[in-house]
């Protein structure tokens, strides 16, 4: 027996069947074949116990088909780690809305998205919202956008105004906290809170990404295991040096990749007491 698009199928006895032939029987017109999480050609033989996903290019895939496509892209072992990961994004501006998009696309297990503000016209030069979303809560506008990218996401919206004293209440159980605030005082407060009140939470903060300075001056610096800061650590947003989509996007994707590296244990996470 094997699983074809989540349905059990019994293989005819003593016949060798290719995935292409299986597709002709169960999903005519399918032209993307995934066996046990890996993309394969139509000539690949299937055997008992295989999990097969058959997809028609150009057709809107179901949740299961999307899941199989993601696993095939990432390889199954990697995808299962991403799928069980839980991250929090604090601040849904140029950094936060971009980080959220990257994490949604790779199929993160659970995402807490936090902001108490509404979409304003001045946000649209760098933040991933649309003109027709002006006036909406950023949490809800982003939720709509993220679910269009990946309908099977699990999202939790947090619309409180965060302070140093309530941060741990909301975020002490996440795997990785990604700080995307605008205000430097809240940035500092977040790092203090993570260091002193969230001993098991990895942290990816941000400092310095305004203007159009050199690409490669945006760095990811490890402060200590599990604690990382992204940015050039000097370019503040100020008159004459605004925040712009390209450089904010570089920093955001540094943050997203750092969060992914932490989820996949490619970089050291928190060490208790540090």
């Amino acid at each position: 027996m094997l699983l074809v698009n989540e349905h059990p199928v019994t293989l005819p006895h003593a016949t060798k069947l290719t995935i292409g032939e299986l597709a002709a029987l169960h999903k005519p017109g399918a032209d993307i074949f995934i066996v046990n999480g890996y993309p394969v050609s139509a000539e690949t033989l299937v055997k008992d116990g295989d999990t097969c996903t058959l997809i028609r290019r150009g057709e809107i895939p179901t949740g299961e088909e999307l899941e199989a496509l993601l696993a095939a892209r990432h390889t199954p072992g990697i995808h299962s780690k991403i799928k069980t990961g839980c991250i929090a994004i604090l601040g849904l501006g140029g950094l936060g809305s971009t980080v959220a998009g990257a994490m949604a696309k790779i199929g993160i297990g659970k995402m807490l998205i936090s902001d108490y503000d509404r979409v304003e016209p001045s946000n649209l030069n760098r933040q991933h919202y649309f003109v027709d979303q002006i006036g909406m809560m950023k949490t809800r506008a982003l939720k709509d956008n993220l679910l269009r990218m990946n309908p099977s996401l699990s999202l939790q919206l947090i619309e409180e105004q965060l302070t140093e004293s309530n941060l741990a209440l909301f975020f002490r159980h996440v795997d990785v906290l990604i700080e995307c605030f605008d205000d430097p005082a809240m940035k500092a407060a977040t790092l203090r809170s993570v260091l002193s009140q969230m001993p098991n939470v990895a942290y990816v903060g941000s400092s310095g990404m305004a203007g159009y300075g050199e690409n490669n001056s945006i760095l990811t610096r490890m402060i200590r295991p599990g604690i990382y800061i992204v940015g050039d650590e000097t370019s503040a947003a100020q008159p004459g040096q605004g925040l712009m989509a390209p450089r904010v996007g570089i920093a955001a994707h540094h943050q997203a990749n750092q969060a992914l590296r932490l989820l996949l244990e490619a970089d050291p996470g928190r060490i208790s007491g540090q």
Partner: protein, 66 residues
Amino acid sequence: MNITLNGTQKVFPSAHTLSQLLADLQLPPETIVVELNTLIIQPDCYSETTLSEGDTVEIIRFVGGG
């Protein structure tokens, strides 16, 4: 006063408290995280936290934008 600041030994002749050290360094106190001998110091304690010879201070500074 000899202090190891972010891994480098430095002399701060007039810094007896954390507040004075931050003033010497011209750092806005609300935008930084300060660790004194591996202990996180809350901002409202900067002025009453005294420094001693040989202390290790780590300062992480944040600038605005996100």
